[in-house]
Structures are given as structure tokens and as C-alpha cells.
Symmetry: C2
Subunit: 375 residues, 2 copies
């Protein structure tokens, strides 16, 4: 039930079978370096989100450039990262239900540091019970809702109350605040994106001060994504950034605007879905062998790399329809193309392997070990 | 990289960990029986599409009720079905590129019958070469475009020309027509859906007659889906129906209308995504632990089983947001709910296991062996 790799090390890129998830290693490494440089000397650390890449090899490359650990969204993701050698994982999410809580507690005995978020008193009680049952202590952050209207308690006093409960629990350590403004990430306008992020920072600051008044210090104040990390960095409250997509970029983040009005290009596209033209029935239409099961379409269709005049239209389960009416280049049966995913995270989750290449040669086959780890 | 099963045989349904893909075995078996009964005595056979279920256990259950074999959309899907005991597979799609063509030819030596579709002279040449290289003969159908504007040659003379090329190729047998009207399946109005299907049937009939005049007989004239199979059955041209979704149904097919103006209810929902409420931050909002990586959203969000007054709104990677403002029932932390997927096929592709249950007890763990088989 694991699919075989679509390539062999040393193979020429054009020989890679399709659909395949390609990683341009040069571009990927430049993205890692760019992020490290962007926060160099700033009072923030990077804790990149592994939900984007689901691959411990990539996580360790991030840590080699200064990341303090990884974020995970599921216990299974955290287990896969720890099994792959990542020593420090924060589950930046709520974990509910005894089987998962026991697994999380057990993991904390294998890794150097394991943390998790909570936003409900009952969940705190369950976390305490599970940690006690496994004879360990769990680090728990209070998640606050800084404007995303998803999970999280209200900033201010409700967060302080929950932190007190954690602090007084036998088997839990209060570890800080989870303050991620998910909705701000894809706001296209720079000024509006900044305003949304800044509003989140203000709510976080207010909560940190409330906690201080109650005698509670935050070891971690985490949040931010690829779309807003510069604002949380400048905000001076967060001390950990949780960006994930910066390693790959995707078509959706590429629609955000920078301060100068140009498109967001702080990072470059390193991730591609490699496809083959499998049918070319008319002058204006070509079909590629990647559809809904090979490309996440939730944030819009992929872009065709190096061919902006070719539009990816509808996708069905296993077909993608290209409009080739406006290109002068031939797009014929058997041609291979690189697509820039609309949304990298759920696209990665459809594959078992990264095919890493440099120039025109396959150099790495990295397992996407947390693919499908929903629990 | 295969995820562990979320349940154990004999377990009570409420103890299944989430997210999990549940299969109500009673409803599933009723759907199989309904389809068998719907075509009983008609001059059509069923060749259900395995792209919906990707599971040989289900394919064999379909064959036990009279199906002649399965459709597959990828070589890897066909390999998984044959490995699971299915003897007869039609790849109802174009296969392009030598590695896949050699695998397909090799598979034809292991299975009782393997077929594939073509819509381009160059692809026919490549199929012939691959079959020759592996010392076998491949059965090839000509795909015609009956209105879906996806793959396929034009009906009529272009199809006859391609069939002649197949017929005269050394290592290929001409096996008939692939005539699937994909666009018609989800047309909501019964009359418009019928008109689209009937137009496809007329184009197919014209092509079959053209082939006859050229001395070419069609062993298989395949097409139809869950939305239109009754029209192709009545059309009297198709002899194989390729419906797939009928085994599960989904929220999208449930929006089609029947002849009497009611919703399409010829089959019942047997497939569910089991989820847990992981956050309940406000009176009107609950978060479940299934988002874009656990639910295909391309055809709209899932419905909440037995709670039509609860609306599934946005999904992010690992969160689904429920609007619980209009329900009188409590939806609290830790509660488990069944969701009816918006689109079953790409949802199934996100899981490794079916958790089959009867009443309140887990009875089966079936591997989704073709999950992720994109090549």
C-alpha cells in the first residue's frame, strides 16, 4: 500500500515517470537559506510546520539551519518526525480522545521535547490523565483565537484561566501560547495582511501581559505562517515562527502582494507535479495524467511552470485539462510538463515520495513518511 | 508509510479512532444488490469502476453479483486489482510512456483479460510496440468523445480510422469502443441529464454502425456512470456499464434529481468519514479533526449524517468547521460524527483502510490497496 518510487537515483529528469512530486533541490536549499537569513539576529526562532512537507529529512535540514524543532498537526505526524530523527515537536493543535492522548504521552518519553495545545478545560483534564497514565509530563500551550475564528480560547482572561488550570495540573507543564492567525496568511493586499497579523499580535501581547500578572511565564509564544512571518517578527511578542510553505511555495501564496505591489516572491517554487500529456484530441486542448487525486485544487488550479500562457482548467479524478489555445509551443502526446501546485500541503499528502533533482539529474528519493497520518 | 488501521475487528463503532473511513456493510450490500437488480435481464453487463473504491475485496464482491470485470483508470490500479484476485480489467483511459506500457503488457500475461483505451495513432503504435516487446497481445478500445470534451477521438470516421489501425497492428486486438459521457453524470435535472446521455448514445450508435460497415465488430461498447446508467441501458447500444459511485453514493450525487423531481435515491450512503469534535470554542462553532487531507472538497463539502441542520463550512488542512447554530442537539468536545463525503472517489484515495461495520460492530478492515496508485 506504499507506492513504488517513480524514479531512480541518477536518472535524467525527463525519464521520471509521472505523476511524480519533484523537488528542485537548489531552489529548496535557497528557500531554507532565505528564511534563515530573514530572521538572523532577530529575537525569534523558527519552528517550521511539518504539515507542509511530512518528511523528517526536510525537517532535519530545517533544524540544521537553526530551527529549534518542528510543528506537527497530528500525533501520527509527530510520531513520523520523531521516528525520522527529529528530537523536538510541538503538536500545534488540539488532541482529543484517549488513544491519541496516550500515544502523545508515550512519544514524549521518546523525544527530547513534546508539546501540545489546548483550548478547553476538559481537554486539559484528559491531557493530565493521559500523561499520568504513561508516567510522563506533557508541555501544554494555550491556543488563543487571534482572529482566525477556528480553534482557541478568547485572548485575555479566558486564556489566563486555562493556563492556570494547566499550571496546577499534576502531569502538565504550562509552556506558553499558540497564537496563529491562519486567516491572515492569504490576504492578498500587503496592508490588509499586515493589519490582520498586527491585530493578532496585539491580542497576543495583551494575553502575555495577563499571564505575567498571574505569575505565568511563556516559554513559547508561537504563531505566524509564510504569509505573515515578517509581521510577527516585527511585532516583538512571538518568539517562535511556524511557517511551513516557504520551503516549497505554491501558486496560491504567489498571488499575495508584497509591499511594493509586486507578487510575493520572497521564496521560489521548488515543488512541482511532473505530468505527461496523455491525450491531445484538439488544437486547443491537451489532457495531462494528473487530476483531483494528484493535485489539491482547493486553492485553485496549478500553474504550468514556464508556460503562463497555458491554463490548467477543470480536473477530474485522473485528468487535468489544459487550454493550449494561446501558446505557440507544441504540447503534444507524451510531452512532460511541470505544474506548480495550487496548494502545496494537501498536494504533498497525495504522494509517497519526493523526487529530488539538481539540474537535470535525480539525486534524492525522500519518503513522505507522514503521508496520510490523519490521526 | 502505510498508516495503521484505525480500528480492530469486533470493536464497537464508537471506539473507532478518527478520522476513519467507515463502510456500512448492510447499506453497501444493498447497493450492490440494487444495481444487480436494476440491470437484471437487460442486454448490458456491469463493469464497475474501481477508481471509486480502489479495493479488490469490493471488486470481487461486485463480480460475485454478476460484474464481468472492473474498470481501472491507471496501470497501478489495475495491478492492485489483479494482485487482489480480479481476473479481468479494462484500463478505461489512455496509457502513455514506455514504462507504463510495458507494465500494462506484462499484466496482460498475468490476468485473464486486460484491455486499454486509445485516442491517438501514435499511442496505438506505442501500445503495439510494448505488447510485442513483452510477447503478448493487448485488447484496445477506441475512446470517442461523446460530449464530455475530455479525451477521445471524434465519433464516426476518425474512430473508424483508429480502429482500423488497431485491427491491423501485429500485437493488438481491436476490442470495441469506450464511450463515457462524464459531463452528463452530475447534471442535476433529470431531463437534461437524459438528453446529454442520449446524445452520447446517438454518437456511439453512429460510430458502431460505421465500424460495422468497415467490417469491425465491437466486443465491448462501454460507458455510463452512476448518474446515467439507466439511459445507456435503455439506449440499446452500450453493452457494458462502468458505474462506480453507486456502491457508496456521495453528497454530490445526492443532489441529482430523479424523474419524479425528488433527489436521486436509487442507492444509499454507505460510506462515511468518522470524525471527532476536537474544539468547541463558541456556541455556534465546532471543529472536527478532518479537513482537506481527510475529505475531498472539490464537489462541495460533506453533509453531516442524521444532522441536516448542521452545516460543514470551511476546511483547512486538518480542521473542518461546523456551524452548529441551528441544531438543538449538543455537539461537544469528543463527540464523534459521521460525515457523508462530497465526492467519494478522491476521498477514498486519502485513506489506507475501510472500516466495515454492521450495526454497531466493526466487522472488516479492507485495505485500499490502490490508494495513491497514480501511475
Amino acid at each position: 500500500m506504499t507506492t513504488p518510487p517513480p524514479a531512480e537515483i541518477g536518472m535524467a529528469l525527463e525519464d521520471v515517470d509521472t505523476p511524480a512530486l519533484l523537488l528542485d533541490l537548489d531552489a529548496f536549499e535557497r528557500n531554507l537559506d532565505r528564511m534563515a537569513k530573514a530572521i538572523e539576529g532577530k529575537p525569534v526562532k523558527l519552528r517550521p510546520h511539518s504539515k507542509s512537507h511530512k518528511c523528517a529529512v526536510i525537517g532535519l535540514a530545517q533544524m540544521a539551519r537553526g530551527a529549534v524543532g518542528l510543528c506537527c498537526q497530528k500525533v501520527g505526524e509527530a510520531e513520523a518526525m520523531v521516528a525520522g530523527g527529529v528530537p523536538n515537536v510541538l503538536v500545534s493543535n488540539q488532541i482529543v480522545g484517549r488513544p491519541k492522548l496516550l500515544r502523545l504521552a508515550a512519544l514524549s518519553k521518546q523525544a527530547e521535547w513534546v508539546g501540545v495545545c489546548a483550548d478547553h478545560p476538559d481537554n486539559v483534564t484528559q491531557l493530565d490523565e493521559a500523561a499520568g497514565a504513561m508516567g510522563t509530563t506533557l508541555n501544554v500551550l494555550v491556543e488563543i483565537d487571534t482572529g482566525a475564528a477556528r480553534c482557541g480560547v478568547e485572548p485575555g482572561q479566558p486564556a489566563v484561566d486555562l493556563a492556570k488550570q494547566i499550571d496546577s495540573a499534576t502531569n502538565l507543564d504550562f509552556a506558553g501560547l499558540q497564537a496563529y492567525q491562519g486567516r491572515a496568511q492569504h490576504v492578498r493586499s500587503y496592508a490588509e495582511r499586515q493589519a490582520a497579523a498586527d491585530a493578532g499580535v496585539a491580542l497576543t501581547r495583551e494575553t502575555v501581559e495577563g499571564l505575567k500578572s498571574a505569575g505565568l511565564e511563556c516559554e513559547i509564544i508561537g504563531g505566524a505562517g509564510t504569509g505573515t512571518f515578517q509581521f510577527e517578527t516585527a511585532g516583538g511578542v512571538h518568539n517562535e515562527l511556524q511557517a511551513g510553505s516557504y520551503v516549497f511555495m505554491d501558486a496560491d501564496y504567489g498571488k499575495n502582494l508584497n509591499e511594493d505591489g509586486g507578487f510575493f516572491d520572497d521564496f521560489e517554487n521548488s515543488l512541482f507535479v511532473f505530468v505527461t500529456v496523455m491525450s491531445a484530441p484538439t488544437e486547443d486542448r491537451a489532457l495531462v495524467d494528473a487530476g483531483l487525486k494528484a493535485l489539491a485544487m482547493d486553492s485553485g488550479p496549478p500553474a504550468v511552470a514556464d508556460m503562463p500562457e497555458v491554463e490548467f482548467g477543470r480536473a477530474s479524478d485522473e485528468h487535468g485539462i489544459l487550454d493550449i489555445s494561446r501558446t505557440n509551443r507544441k504540447v503534444g502526446l507524451g510531452d512532460k510538463l511541470k505544474l506548480i501546485p495550487g496548494h502545496c500541503d494537501p498536494t504533498v499528502n497525495l504522494y509517497d515520495w519526493y523526487v529530488g533533482y539538481r539540474g537535470n539529474r535525480v539525486e534524492a528519493l525522500w519518503p513522505i513518511a507522514a503521508r496520510g497520518m490523519l490521526r
